[in-house]
């Protein structure tokens, strides 16, 4: 296990370097030079040249890359073009809201997805299985923005049960339980929208894994011992069926963070995702690049986590 873990960690180093190179390359493609947007237009072109020279903007690209990477490692992700705020700080400010939303969606995906998958598998070829199969197809097919708008239309605008957007009721000075309920009310719709595709995937995965396990000899043995159906399904089958589902844990993390962009935008959730969309509209390249870097490292970590957890859960797996 230890050897595998070290091998897998070492493998991520070139990927990490690749990610930074790719981010840097995309950054180079972005139009305009930071000087032109930040500096007083009245300045003479000679002075501009000198300033560029001083800032290292005329250095060869590899040199610029190393300068940049050094700054990134010390936590400096650059400054926004318009307000001059440090990008790292901006992202950290938005991170808690995103973590709350993705965390809720993550829990929801597994708490809802696994039981549905088990139910679907134990009712194979019966009506509930077919209904759930079609529903899971819809779950992976519906664009999150359409689903989100539909939810707002029905539950917020027509029925008035839920707030349309935001994370807290603006102007309301709530404390304790009332504050918590206010949060629950706001997080319900966005987290459902964010979790839906993952619920569908978890469900399909649990179902097929359950079906595989239910076909095995030890289940027949358990059955013929006279154990109750429920006990066989939950105690004997589900435990083994959950091993492959663990991989989805890691893989769903990047998916949820990626999905957060659109979901947060639709629900005006004050997190990293809506920051990303705002930066796109405002053409804030430093923020977009930092978010790209952040998300891709997250995906890499998610993949790593998935592999390691899988190897930990199933000692037969070592590759």
């Amino acid at each position: 296990m230890k050897k595998y873990l070290i091998k897998r960690l070492l493998q991520s180093i070139p990927i990490l370097i690749g990610i930074t190179i790719m981010t840097f390359a995309i950054m180079q493609l972005s139009p305009g030079n930071p000087m032109q947007t930040m500096i007083d237009p009245k300045i003479s072109s000679e002075e501009m040249q000198r300033a560029q020279e001083n800032l290292g903007l005329n250095d060869p690209l590899p040199v610029q890359y190393f300068t940049w990477i050094k700054e990134v490692f010390t936590g400096n992700l650059g400054y926004t073009v318009k307000t001059g705020q440090p990008v790292g700080q901006l992202i950290l400010e938005r991170l808690p809201a995103t973590l709350l939303l993705t965390g809720t969606a993550f829990v929801m995906a597994f708490v809802v997805g696994i039981p549905l998958g088990v139910y679907s598998a134990t009712n194979r070829f019966k009506a509930p299985d077919y209904v759930l199969t079609v529903l899971s197809f819809i779950g992976i097919s519906i664009p999150s923005f359409f689903f989100g708008l539909g939810m707002i239309f029905i539950f917020a605008l027509k029925l008035g049960w839920m707030p349309t957007s935001g994370m807290v009721t603006i102007g309301a000075d709530l404390t304790g339980f009332a504050k918590f309920m206010d949060y629950v009310k706001h997080v319900t719709m966005p987290s459902i929208v964010l979790a839906l595709p993952t619920i569908a995937v978890v469900m399909r995965f649990t179902r097929s894994s359950m079906l595989e396990v239910l076909n095995q000899d030890f289940i027949r043995t358990a059955d013929s011992k006279g154990l109750s159906k429920l006990k066989v399904n939950l105690k004997h089958a589900l435990r083994n069926a959950l091993i492959p589902v663990i991989t989805i844990f890691g893989l769903s993390i990047p998916f949820l963070f990626g999905g957060a962009y659109i979901t947060e935008h639709i629900f005006n959730w004050p997190g990293m995702g809506s920051l990303g969309i705002q930066s796109i509209v405002a053409r804030e390249y430093p923020v977009i690049m930092a978010l790209n870097l952040f998300t891709s490292i997250l995906v890499m970590t998610g993949n790593l986590l998935a592999d390691v957890m899988y190897a930990w859960a199933d000692p037969r797996i070592r590759y």
Partner: protein, 306 residues
């Protein structure tokens, strides 16, 4: 079933044709049994026909604002006999825009997937067949690109480039080849060790001929399945980009940019005909492609089930 296939493979070149025919018939039977897949295929064919015949079927010009009785522009008119799905905020007929929008969305997805498939298969075959450092380089690059979520990478590149129909196609094509590369490489690695390939090599065939005639035909099934599922993904990406305003630009209609109007709460709440049909069109199309993809997987590649 896989046993039969294996024997044929080992028997060598002479048997390939017979095996192919056998597989086609059995596959078609399996596909027909999958009701969801057949339903999906029928809907998709209908959509394709409607898209091709758009100029004939569309009741109005999708770019032109229509005028009402009083000579004013018929803005945000609810569905009526004249406009079956109402009009949008510029008074353009929604039904016509849906029909033309489908044309745009499907074309973008289809061409983008062609690009992604070509890139993916090419890189996958080269990596798998030649191995060694070529494999290492290609797969490490794939590992890196796969770390960037497709949608966000597409959004980033779309923000940098000037938004246009052509760029949207290129962007989606260039960010979604990674899964195909991994898949094809794995398949090629498996086939490369087979005896019939060794036999072909011993006969002095060139690498190109071996790849084109003896390897590719044997990995078509997973390529077709992956390509189909990728098309669903491409439609989703295109609609998301257009919805956010960095994809297909107005006045060209696309299902994604038609939903963009719903960002106004007034339209969202009181003019549902402006955004709902486009949303359902995207949902239905992606759903049907996924049905067909799933059916194809079961039909062509029974081993891969689940």
């Amino acid at each position: 079933m896989s046993n039969v296939e294996l024997q044929h493979n080992q028997a060598g070149l002479v048997q390939i044709n017979r095996k192919k025919r056998w597989r086609t018939n059995a596959s078609w039977k399996r596909f027909k049994k999958n009701k969801l897949a057949v339903f999906g295929a029928i809907v998709l064919i209908t959509l394709l026909i409607v898209s091709v015949l758009a100029p004939i079927l569309a009741p109005h010009n999708p770019y032109e604002s229509t005028k009402g009785e009083l000579g004013l522009f018929d803005v945000l008119a609810p569905p009526s006999g004249e406009h079956l799905l109402g009009t949008d905020s510029l008074g353009r007929d929604m039904l016509s825009r849906i029909i033309y929008g489908g044309r745009v969305s499907l074309t973008v997805a289809f061409v983008a997937v062609m690009i992604a498939t070509f890139t993916g298969v090419l890189l996958g075959v080269v990596a798998g067949y030649y191995g060694k450092w070529v494999d290492t380089v290609i797969m490490r690059i794939t590992d890196v690109v796969i770390c960037f979520p497709v949608l966000f990478l597409a959004i980033t590149v779309a923000t940098i480039l000037k938004p246009s129909l052509f760029n949207v196609i290129i962007i989606i094509g260039l960010v979604s080849w990674t899964t195909m590369t991994r898949l094809v490489r794995g398949e090629v690695l498996r086939l490369r060790e087979m005896e019939y390939i060794e036999a072909t090599k011993a006969m002095g065939q060139s690498d190109f001929i071996i790849i084109i005639k003896h390897i590719l035909p044997n990995i078509m099934a997973p390529i077709i399945v992956q390509g189909t599922l990728q098309t669903a993904e491409a439609i989703l990406t295109e609609s998301a980009l257009s919805f956010l305003g960095v994809g297909v630009q107005q006045p060209i209609p696309s299902w994604g940019n038609m939903l963009n109007e719903a960002t106004s709460i007034m339209v969202l709440q009181f003019k549902p005909w402006v955004w709902m049909p486009a949303g359902f069109a995207i949902l239905l199309t992606i759903l049907c492609i996924n049905f067909v993809g799933d059916g194809l997987r079961d039909a062509l590649d029974p081993k891969e089930k689940n």
